[in-house]
């Protein structure tokens, strides 16, 4: 249910002290969501935040909405129940890379394939924060952590790639320090019907500080990030002079103005293309890292399909009430 009440971000802040480490990107995410919600226009009481366990999963405590701080890895499964039970709610998941892709990997991919209408915020800091610094399924090969003192040997997932493999219809990405883009993406995520996955490249200042600095530092970010927008050419760079073109099946960075390349040669981003091939390439691109809404394909949601099937059952099932059911089929009287 939408609302006419004019909220400010403060309306979404609970009275609990926020207990993340000073400097953690989680603060930026919190604030960005609190800023997005008034623009989304849903009633406070219709919004639910569900999380697992991890630093990131403390999130619901800091929101003044309904919420469950669940158990490790099960946020998506819990949220699925909440959303199926009441499709009118706006259900958000807040979950870390470990929570979502280590112990919670199965629920993660299944929620995605079912296209249930959740807004899923993935706090990817490439580390287990709460348990003090073990490698996660997104940690880099060779990364030294408490549980990989000689370097991590387990090749990482790329969350967007995994999501596309699991049939994701919506995938967006933003840097942990980019409050503005984040706010925008949360609004887009909410607008999109179906599971909206937003990956945040979140810096953990304590156990994996600087993991993204080559992408997110002020000094480099404009050349290291390409923020895509549906319908717009994929141009980036400090001077807005770089862009993507197709080279066979691969993406290539070109410079506008060099070798006769003009803006018109640059690929125009189509987030709504059903075929995931190009989106996969975008998701996997390393230089630049692609931010923004990479994929946003309309499709039926799980709830839509549930509703259809319910309608159908109502039509075809001859039994119309529980009492009728009790007496259906072969019964007999004892007198």
């Amino acid at each position: 249910m939408t609302t006419n009440i004019k909220y400010t971000f403060k309306d979404f802040a609970s009275d609990q002290d926020v207990r993340w480490c000073p400097g953690c990107d989680d603060y930026v995410i919190l604030r960005s969501i609190q800023k997005a919600l008034p623009q989304i226009g849903r009633k406070k009481e219709d919004i639910v935040f569900i999380s697992g366990i991890g630093c990131s999963s403390r999130f619901p405590y800091y929101m003044d909405n309904y919420g469950i701080h669940g158990i490790h890895g099960r946020a998506a499964a819990i949220a699925t129940g909440t959303k199926l039970a009441n499709p009118d709610l706006s259900v958000w998941v807040a979950s870390g890379d470990g929570d979502s892709m280590a112990i919670g990997g199965n629920h993660f991919i299944h929620a995605i394939r079912r296209n249930i209408d959740l807004n899923y915020v993935l706090f990817n800091n490439e580390i287990y924060g709460l348990t003090k610094g073990q490698f996660s399924p997104t940690s880099l090969l060779g990364q030294k952590t408490k549980s990989s003192p000689y370097g991590n040997v387990q090749a990482p997932f790329n969350p967007g790639e995994l999501a596309i493999g699991a049939q994701a219809k919506f995938f967006a990405r933003a840097a942990g320090n980019d409050a503005k883009l984040q706010t925008k993406l949360y609004i887009e995520a909410d607008k999109h019907k179906g599971l909206s996955l937003v990956e945040i490249l979140q810096n953990c200042v304590i156990f994996n500080d600087g993991a993204y600095k080559d992408i997110t530092d002020k000094s480099v970010k404009e050349d290291a990030q390409l923020v895509v927008e549906h319908g717009k050419p994929m141009i980036f760079g400090k001077n807005k002079d770089k862009g993507l073109v197709l080279d066979g099946m691969k993406l290539k960075v070109v410079k506008i103005g060099e070798n006769g390349i003009t803006e018109d040669d640059i690929l125009v981003h189509d987030a709504k293309e059903k075929d995931p091939t190009l989106h996969l390439a975008l998701v996997n691109l390393k230089e630049p890292v692609v931010m923004g809404v990479i994929r946003a394909v309309d499709d039926k949601t799980l709830e839509d399909r549930e509703a259809e099937v319910t309608e159908y059952a109502k039509k075809v099932n001859p039994i119309k009430s529980f009492e009728e059911l009790l007496f259906s089929g072969q019964t007999y009287e004892v007198k």
């Binding site: 609970s14 609990q16 009633k43 406070k44 009481e45 219709d46 639910v48 935040f49 569900i50 366990i53 619901p60 405590y61 929101m63 003044d64 909405n65 309904y66 919420g67 469950i68 701080h69 669940g70 158990i71 099960r74 499964a77 819990i78 949220a79 699925t80 129940g81 909440t82 959303k83 199926l84 039970a85 009441n86 009118d88 709610l89 199965n106 629920h107 299944h110 549930e306 099937v309 319910t310 059952a313 109502k314 099932n317 039994i319 119309k320 009430s321 529980f322 009492e323 059911l325 009790l326 007496f327 089929g329 072969q330 019964t331 007999y332 009287e333 004892v334 007198k335």
Partner: protein
């Protein structure tokens, strides 16, 4: 003997135990169901139990591919599908071989003699034909060439021979109807309805049915037929119900009664899956049956749905319950309504997945980290599953803490007549749900009577709150690591479960109210125990034996110590290694408990129990 004479030769029986056995493809389940349904419709009390092979469709004629269906029909109260058989119907050598040991000596076995080919005998690992080698001389063997007789009867239908052969189960059924003086009309009606778009199938089956009936009528090998009079049962409208179906319906009834929708989050597992199948049918009646990716997602989705205000349940069997332990702990910590159904099967691990056992009791009590008490209750028969599912829902809603409902493969797959209980007959269910703003709301402020907390539902303005698995402040529900608050909360959660004692019926004994021996049981063994105690008392009228059957396990009901003290001996028969006896010992160490444990994937038989009772009373 003239036909007329034959007809007059009717013998009155008060009950009879029959087993139909054949290949998975022989239609034994249908045959058994039809026979028992007709009997019930004609007034008998019945109890049935199917016995599937664990293979989906084993090779034709193989020993492990034998599928069976047992039925006990009677003119007085029937509590179990019966122990030893009065009649065996075996459609092939493998079926004969694997089942003959259960037939009472001297009793009749009807076989399809056409199926005793060399190849089938080999598959059944018979060295010689048992119909000919005298090895069955202890039994009354009635060989009937059912296959050829069926084909003969259907030769004008135009069906191919394979299709004709498929009707031989109806031929067998017809014989049985004659033998037990039952009118085949219900089966005819059934066939007409079931195959209404395939008139040729209806015709063939009815023809085969009638052929069997008439064949038996004329057959000299069957000199007698039997009458089993109608059973005295409470007045009302009845239907035959399977345990798993009754469980499903019990929850539907509770949801209606509480004014809530029903949400099931489940992952298929034998022998619980039929509850999912059943509930999946009724999405037009406000039931969401969500098949999740695994058991953990099953319970987790139910937790999410409960938070959103549904009557939420999750169904599984032993290995699945093991997987749900952590999430069940969360539900206990959250203090939300949730029912977990465990239809127990043979363990440990994958164990004997299609066989029955009661070995998850301790798991239900303790299979979670930390101090995490749950209400634990158990269904005692197929029909009782309706009441206990209803009760599980009522308790979880009225006490705001999860309930585990234990069933088992034996009662889950078994069926019996059930006097239909409409919603009017069921007790009220009051919930703690809040869907409108209230002043002074505190998520963990409790109703002193039950210690239940309010259940404020998302969507309700002004009651926004967050619940979670960390220990929480005893009123606000916010995270609290305070030592004394934790201790208080641990005790509150335990006390909340203990208080349920005041809301459930006290334990009572059936039969003798004091005396030599108290038989103590719980869950699905009720029918076996009751039959055994009844028989024992009939045979030993001067021995005083009572039966105390527990439907409520945690908390135990009031009156236990009082009752136990009235008997000289207490025996606790169970289909496990004595788990309930151990629990009793923990709670009432002042009594001696004689364990009687059976772990064979099979129900208790009254014979073995009676033997044991005798021994104990003699020793006393």
């Amino acid at each position: 003997m003239s036909k007329e004479a034959l007809h007059k030769n009717k013998k009155q029986l008060d009950h009879v135990v029959i087993r139909f056995v054949g290949d998975s493809g022989d239609g034994m389940q249908l045959t058994g169901t039809q026979f028992s349904t007709s009997a019930a419709l004609l007034g008998n009390d019945i109890a049935t139990f199917p016995n599937y092979p664990s293979e989906i469709r084993a090779p034709q004629g193989s020993l492990y591919g034998v599928s069976g269906f047992q039925v006990n029909i009677g003119s007085n109260e029937i509590s179990t599908p019966g122990d030893d058989l009065d009649l065996l119907v075996a459609m092939n050598p493998a079926a004969l071989k694997t089942n003959i040991k259960d037939l009472k000596p001297g009793h009749m076995v009807i076989v399809d003699s056409d199926a005793f080919t060399r190849s089938n005998l080999q598959k059944a690992k018979y060295d010689s034909n048992p119909l000919e080698d005298g090895s069955l001389s202890n039994y009354n063997v009635v060989p009937v060439p059912m296959t050829s007789l069926t084909r003969e009867a259907l030769k004008d239908t135009g069906l191919d021979s394979k299709s004709m052969t498929r009707s031989k189960n109806m031929f067998a059924l017809g014989m049985l109807y004659w033998l037990y003086s039952k009118d085949p009309k219900y089966t005819e009606e059934f066939l007409k309805k079931k195959f209404k778009n395939k008139p040729e199938i209806v015709e063939a089956n009815i023809k085969a049915l009638k052929a069997g009936y008439h064949f038996a009528d004329t057959l000299e090998l069957m000199p007698t037929h039997y009458v089993i009079g109608p059973a005295k049962k409470e007045k009302g409208t009845y239907r035959i119900i399977m345990g798993n179906q009754a469980t499903a319906w019990g929850f539907m009834a509770a949801a209606k009664k509480a004014g809530l929708d029903l949400f099931l989050g489940s992952y298929p597992i034998t022998p619980a899956t039929d509850i999912l199948h059943e509930l999946a049918k009724w999405r037009n009646l406000d039931v969401i049956a969500f098949q999740a990716e695994d058991e953990i997602a099953g319970i987790s989705s139910a937790i999410g749905a409960s938070f959103a205000g549904k009557l939420a349940i999750t169904t599984t069997s032993g290995p699945g319950l093991a997987l749900k332990g952590e999430a069940l702990g969360l539900a206990i910590m959250l203090e939300i309504p949730l029912v977990v159904v465990d239809v127990q099967r043979g363990g440990p691990s994958t164990g004997l997945p299609t066989k029955t056992e009661q070995s998850d009791l301790m798991q239900a009590m303790y299979g979670r980290n930390g101090e995490s008490p749950a209400i634990v209750i158990a269904a005692k028969s197929p029909a009782d599953s309706y009441d206990m599912a209803f009760m599980a829902a009522k308790l979880t809603l009225e006490h705001m803490t999860p309930v585990i409902l234990l069933s088992d493969g034996y009662i889950g797959n078994g069926s019996e007549p059930w006097r239909i209980k409409t919603l009017d007959e069921m007790p009220e269910i009051k919930t703690y749900q809040i869907t409108e703003y209230v002043e002074d709301f505190h998520p963990y402020k409790r109703d002193p009577k039950t210690l239940a907390r309010p259940w404020a539902i998302p969507g309700t303005p002004g009651l926004e709150h967050v619940i979670g698995g960390l220990e929480k402040d005893k009123v606000e529900g916010t995270v609290s690591q305070d030592p004394l608050n934790h201790e208080e909360m641990v005790k509150l959660r335990a006390e909340k479960v203990r208080k349920v004692k005041d809301f459930i019926p006290p334990i009572e004994a059936e039969f003798d109210q004091e005396g030599d021996l108290l038989v103590v049981g719980w869950g699905g063994t009720y029918g076996s125990l009751k039959t055994a105690v009844k028989k024992y008392r009939e045979e030993n009228p001067d021995h005083k034996v009572g039966l105390a059957h527990f439907s409520y396990i945690n908390p135990l009901p009031h009156g236990v110590a009082d009752l136990f003290s009235k008997y000289k001996k207490i025996i606790v028969p169970e289909l496990n290694m004595g788990q309930f006896a151990d629990l009793l010992c923990m709670n009432y160490p002042q009594f001696d408990y004689i364990k009687y444990d059976k772990v064979q994937g099979l129900p208790l038989s009254s014979e073995e129990l009676i033997k044991e009772f005798k021994k104990i009373i003699k020793d006393a």
